[in-house]
Amino acid sequence: MEINLRYGFNKFNKKNLATTTKEKIPAQSRIVRLVEQGHITPVKALQMLKDKDCQLQGQKRQEYGSDNEENIESIIKELDELVGLKKIKNLVKELQAFITIQRYRAREQLQTEPLVLHMIFKGNPGTGKTTVARIIGKLFKELGVLPKGHLIEVERADLVGEYIGHTAQRTRDQVKKALGGILFIDEAYSLARGGEKDFGKEAIDVLVKAMEDHKDEFILILAGYKDEMDWFLLTNPGLRSRFPIHMEFPDYTVKELMDIAALMLKKRQYKLSEDAAAELGRIISSKVLYGHQHGGNARLVRNIIEKAIRRQAVRLVRKNYVSREELLTLCFEDLLEATEDGS
């Protein structure tokens, strides 16, 4: 009890009410001063405060434009529509709030925090890393952090060359393509695979230099399996401090994978027959049991569905007459064949 109270005590000492209020919005502190000096009545102050509130709200809208706000809203909606990923969604919204407030502070000529937004994404394949990165790119464009917000997705083979100097050039080329947006490196840990002599090291050095030379011009996201990424950062301590944002993408549950399937089907305007739905459930459960690492998570679901869609086409094209219902429906046999050849 005693400790708790003292905690409140210190906290308040640091955060003096009157001064924080004054610092926050200069116009407000002027109103407060006018009351104190007897130039205006408290009633007048209340009215001015109210006007100020309305003005501020108007200003916000003006600065970003209503178009812009709508865009942000629809991007956030796209994020929210993803199945699960609760923590990730919160983190992205936190980032959005942070960036917005830093902007407001800059406008009021208050000290701002540096915006270092390079990120580490940890998670198994198919857990939504690329999808979320793409959404972040769009969001950051609307927030004014990135001029373009596009995503360049690369892996080791796109960066590392066959001889000395080749790697540096290839890596620089990829950075150049990503300027104004996000450079997303999948399985980034593989850059450290071959040790000191490996060309991967050369790619890392070029990336680090690019982060300095092109500060604020692009965002680098390193993605990969959790354990591998942890090890990668451990063995490259110089890198760690440059990536302040870490996001962990958990494996989806069977229920989430089924929801993802439903979402994918809806978007493509297909549906599953009853026995097909049961079969999909069975396939997903058995893959999850077998182990997520190899399960492929949402990617597995997408592959099954896309393959089933192709099988259905083959099945229907042979027929003389095809009904609307048949066009909409994926059957048990479409699914069966979809997984037969080992996908």
Partner: protein, 198 residues
């Protein structure tokens, strides 16, 4: 976890200080730290229990509270509130510099708080015409979480006043710090409001 700030504001002598203490009691907090800030730069920290606080901080005199008195209420291990009692606002520019400074602090706190608890005196409004202070405090309700209470409904001629207030302000909680009437509903509404904007 940052403590929520609830500002208690209104005209003088309506029962703001009494309400702060009554609320504390209904929240089960009988002992607390209170910080007295008169805007002079120096702040005074005191540890009071309810009886002591009442003796020192409540009086029938007008403008008895000068400055911001912040009660640090530990409602549970995870919930802390700052209940901020304030200087009553006058319609006109007050001649006392100390009181003007106090009112300035009220205005500053108004811009900073998480919820405005507006106290009106039902006893007074049975005869007085509606004050611009109360009209304008009520108008703040459109830009931040806001609760209005009509206090002193225990008093014999408060019912006309309560009606007057209800005609001006849409939603008012009738209460009495003397009898405790209405404080339970007030507590519930506060909890709801603060949950909404967390």
């Amino acid at each position: 976890m940052v403590a929520k700030k609830i500002l208690i504001a209104g005209k003088t002598n309506v029962g703001k200080s009494s309400l702060a203490l009554t609320l504390a009691r209904f929240l089960g907090v009988y002992k607390f730290h209170v910080c007295l800030d008169r805007g002079t730069g120096e702040k005074q920290w005191l540890k009071y229990d309810l009886a002591m606080a009442k003796r020192k901080l409540v009086s029938s005199r007008e403008y008895y509270t000068q400055g911001l008195n912040t009660y640090y209420l530990e409602i549970s291990k995870v919930t802390r509130w700052q209940l901020i009692d304030s200087t009553g606002l006058s319609e006109d520019i007050h001649t006392s510099a100390d009181l003007r400074r106090g009112m300035a602090l009220t205005i500053a706190a108004l811009a900073d708080c998480d919820c405005l608890l507006h106290v009106l005196d039902a006893e007074k409004y049975s005869v007085n015409t509606f004050s611009a202070v109360d009209d304008n405090l009520a108008a703040m309700g459109s830009s931040k979480p806001y609760i209005a209470v009509a206090n002193k409904i225990d008093s014999v001629d408060s019912s006309a006043g309560l009606k007057n207030i209800q005609r001006r302000i849409e939603r008012v909680i009738p209460c009495s710090t003397l009898t405790g009437e209405g404080i339970v509903s007030l507590r519930q509404l506060l909890l709801d409001k603060l949950k909404q904007n967390s």
